[in-house]
């Protein structure tokens, strides 16, 4: 093979690998991403039961109830709409009423959000960015909530 042919072989080989990888990436992206909604958006967007999504909002004051064993229920609000969440597992250390929370899971037939993950943040002053943005859009963002 001449230099040119060798180079072409290598470039074509590289492109082939890249093409296959791009295909896998597109396929994976279409199947595995989860959308983020606030309680109002869930009612507006008519999310179908069983679709996996992330729910963000504030834990409503006085709504957190510990059930049997490791079951918990609480209400997530964006101060406009609310949605009830059930979760079987350990809540993160920084889970508190009146504080921001992001839960991942599905909505069951009865309109309750069944979470399998409740996200913790490392920093008590930290509000998940996607949540802060959503609350700002809705005009319910309170800068005072973020100290310093």
């Amino acid at each position: 093979m001449t230099r040119k042919q060798k180079r072409m072989t290598m470039i074509l080989g590289g492109l082939a690998v890249l093409g296959i990888a791009a295909g896998i990436m597109l396929y994976a992206l279409s199947g595995t991403i989860t959308f983020f909604y606030t309680p109002s958006e869930i009612t507006e967007e008519k999310v179908s039961p069983g679709q996996r999504l992330r729910l963000g909002g504030l834990v409503e004051e006085g709504s957190w109830i510990r059930g049997e064993g490791t079951m918990s229920t609480f209400v997530v609000t964006d101060t406009i709409k609310t949605i009830k969440v059930t979760y079987n597992g350990q809540l993160p250390d920084l889970f508190r009423e009146g504080q921001g929370v992001v839960a991942e899971g599905i909505i069951d037939g009865g309109g309750t959000f069944v979470a399998d993950t409740v996200l913790a943040k490392h920093d008590e002053n930290y509000m998940p960015k996607e949540l802060a943005d959503s609350l700002k859009e809705k005009g319910v963002w309170n800068e005072g909530a973020k100290t310093q």
Partner: protein
């Protein structure tokens, strides 16, 4: 007063960086040797000034000077000494000072120890380092001054985020930054080579040790971060494909590609243009990592409170350096001469394959990390890309590479023969298949991936051992000869073997914990027990707890295997003063076979506790493997070929005074 000295030193350093950037570039172009030497002096002065600023900030932390806002916000007088020191870089401003300090260290190291380099190249490298330093010093001085005072000074500080108060995490940022910033040297060499218009074996021999040093630091830094996440976050996981983790993983992938492609440049004078591009990409990804972590544009479990305006500044730095260097590359690269020829199946070919797959894998991580950001900017829709995406893309892309790793070293340069290489590896291959079959037969409730993954791990480890055995002619020559050969082997060869073997050990750990992890979540009252992976774990009860800067409750657990007592574990719920922030400490019993991992959760209604328990089989193989890779890197780094004599391209030219 000392804080003001620090601040002043930073401002002076900015001025010196400007000099270090412009003057040596100009002098190198003009061929003015005396002027070039002043650039080298500037880089040493730069180091002295930044070190002064860093020392001033450390002093403020040590004496708890709360009139400095940064100390007030991130420290507390009751904090243990170690965390007073690590508090210096446990926040945005301080971490940026550490960043430029390490940058200045590398720059001064090139200036001082680069005796073998031609002066023009050395000056240009130092100048590029100066330009990076200038950008980040401006960033610190204009947006993130760590020496800001508050009036009147508060009596007590806010304290450091408690989950950062951990030995592994205290040293995680310095190592990670040493890795990130170390890649700036490869970048500076690449840009200097583009200006110079020449890349050759000597160039690669200078770049290799610096890149290798960066790789060694990145490896240990990432491993420490992952180890910390494993036992401190209490989620039982060790890697979450979180944007901040990905931000450090992407430079690692490209740096790994770079240390391999630099071998080809050094030995065969081929792949030169590609290696230059890779050097630029590696540092660009480091810069992007800094941007992602420091700007807060991404939602991450590791994100701390950040200021979006700073993000814009770093974004501008990012655009200038990446855009500028790529433009220079597009302009100058076509002028470089193409190097040696090689057949597709050859050592060079295998290293090209390594580079291709590592870069494509990095691309997959890149897409998954930035796609949510792009989509939100374009359509306003908020999404998250989680582990399923990365498992689905990164796995299949990296798999062929892992399969090929043991074969590469057995291929000859220029033209190799795959059949011969496989023949020499047949024992490894047979044993690996046997390992797979054994796992399949035991069928420890595993999908097909389990036997395959374990066979792969065995293949990697045995392949590395076969490489060693064949190099020292083990069992083919008398043992004494083999022993002589092992002593005579270049350290970089042993380092490579160790790194490949360590990779196999790590894969074994990853496969085991991914497929055979046992997780149990139960509510237990004192005296009750639960079964986890053949162990019975009894919740003994809880007692109050007082530490230097926290109070809390400690839950005790008795772990038994049959009738044998294995361990008593303590998991704590702590509440840190003065922030009141709660944290959880994991109860951990570590063995090479696997960890028992107990996390005490919230109180339940009936007086018990929600308890999460894991059995994580072979999990320590992950860190053991990375540590072996780290050792391999260190060993290669100590190879004498990198230190003495060898890279002397311009010695003859240098001897002639440039009048």
């Amino acid at each position: 007063m000392i804080a003001e000295i620090g601040h002043f030193a930073l401002i002076l350093a900015t001025g010196v960086a400007l000099y270090q950037f412009l003057v040596p570039l100009y002098a190198a172009q003009r061929g003015d040797r005396a002027l070039m030497r002043t650039g080298l002096t500037a880089s040493v002065l730069q180091l002295a000034l930044i070190a002064t600023a860093f020392a001033a900030l450390t002093h403020a932390y040590l004496v708890s000077d709360f009139s400095v806002q940064n100390v007030f916000e991130n420290s507390h007088s009751a904090k243990p000494l170690l965390y007073k020191i690590s508090g210096v870089w446990g926040n945005h401003e301080g971490s940026m000072v550490l960043w430029v300090l390490i940058l200045a260290l590398y720059g001064a190291a090139v200036a001082i120890f680069g005796e073998n380099l031609p002066l023009e190249l050395r000056s240009r490298v130092v100048a590029i380092q100066g330009s990076i330093g200038l950008a980040f010093l401006l960033f610190i001085v204009l947006t993130s001054n760590p020496f800001m005072r508050i009036e009147p000074p508060p009596i007590e500080g806010n304290g450091l985020n408690p989950i950062l108060q951990d030995p592994a995490l205290a040293f995680h940022p310095p190592f990670l930054y040493a890795g990130y910033v170390g890649l700036s040297i490869a970048f500076a060499f690449a840009v200097a080579a583009l200006i110079d218009g020449r890349v050759d074996a000597a160039w690669a021999r200078w770049v290799r040790p610096w890149t290798l040093a960066a790789w060694v630091f990145l490896t240990i830094g990432i491993a420490m971060g992952s180890w910390w996440a494993y036992y401190e976050l209490g989620w039982g996981g060790w890697w979450f494909w979180d944007p901040v983790e990905n931000a450090s993983f992407m430079p690692w992938l490209v740096a790994t590609a770079l240390i391999h492609s630099a071998i080809v440049v050094e030995k065969r004078n081929a792949l030169k243009i590609w290696t230059v591009l890779l050097s630029i990409l590696a540092f660009s990804l480091s810069l992007m990592g800094t941007f992602l972590v420091r700007s807060g544009v991404l939602t991450s479990v590791h994100a701390f409170a950040v200021d979006p305006e700073r993000g814009l500044f770093i974004l501008i730095i990012l655009c200038i350096f990446i855009g500028g260097s790529l433009a220079l590359f597009a302009w100058r690269a076509p002028m470089m001469k193409a190097g040696g020829l090689f057949a597709p199946v050859s050592r060079e070919g295998s290293l090209v394959m390594n580079n291709l797959l590592l870069c494509v894998a990095c691309l997959a991580v890149f897409v998954g990390t930035l796609y949510p950001l792009a989509l939100e900017t374009l359509s306003g829709e908020k999404i998250s890309v989680g582990p399923p995406y990365f498992n689905l893309t990164f796995g299949p892309i990296i798999l062929p590479l892992l399969l090929l790793v043991p074969i590469g070293p057995f291929l000859a340069w220029k033209r190799g023969d795959a059949a011969t290489a496989l023949r020499r590896l047949w024992i490894s291959l047979a044993v690996a298949v046997a390992v797979g079959l054994v796992v399949l037969a035991l069928n420890i409730r595993g999908p097909w991936l389990a036997p395959f993954g374990m066979a792969l791990a065995a293949w990697l480890v045995l392949g590395a051992l076969t490489d060693l055995a064949s190099r020292i002619a083990l069992f083919k020559a008398p043992l004494a000869t083999s022993w002589h050969r092992i002593i005579g082997l270049p350290r970089s060869a042993i380092g490579g073997i160790l790194a490949h073997g360590g990779l196999g050990v790590m894969i074994a750990g990853i496969i085991a914990i991914s497929l055979w992890k046992i997780e149990v979540i139960v509510a237990l009252k004192p005296g009750e027990a639960a079964d986890v992976g053949g162990y019975s774990i009894t919740f003994i009860g809880e007692t109050p707890l007082t530490g230097p800067n926290f109070t809390g409750r400690a839950g005790r657990f008795l772990v038994k295997e049959g009738d044998r007592e294995v361990a008593t574990l303590v998991s704590e719920k702590r509440e840190f003063q003065p922030s009141g922030m709660p944290t959880t400490e994991v109860g951990l019993h570590q063995t090479l076979a696997g960890d028992i991992y107990v996390v005490m959760g919230d109180a339940t209604n009936d007086g018990g506790r929600a308890i999460r328990m894991y059995f994580n089989p072979l999990v320590n193989f992950i860190w053991l493997g990375t540590f072996i890779m780290f050792l391999g890197g260190l060993l290669s780094l100590s190879d004498r070929r990198y230190r003495v004599g060898a890279p002397k391209r311009h010695v003859a030219a240098q001897a002639v005074p440039a009048e």
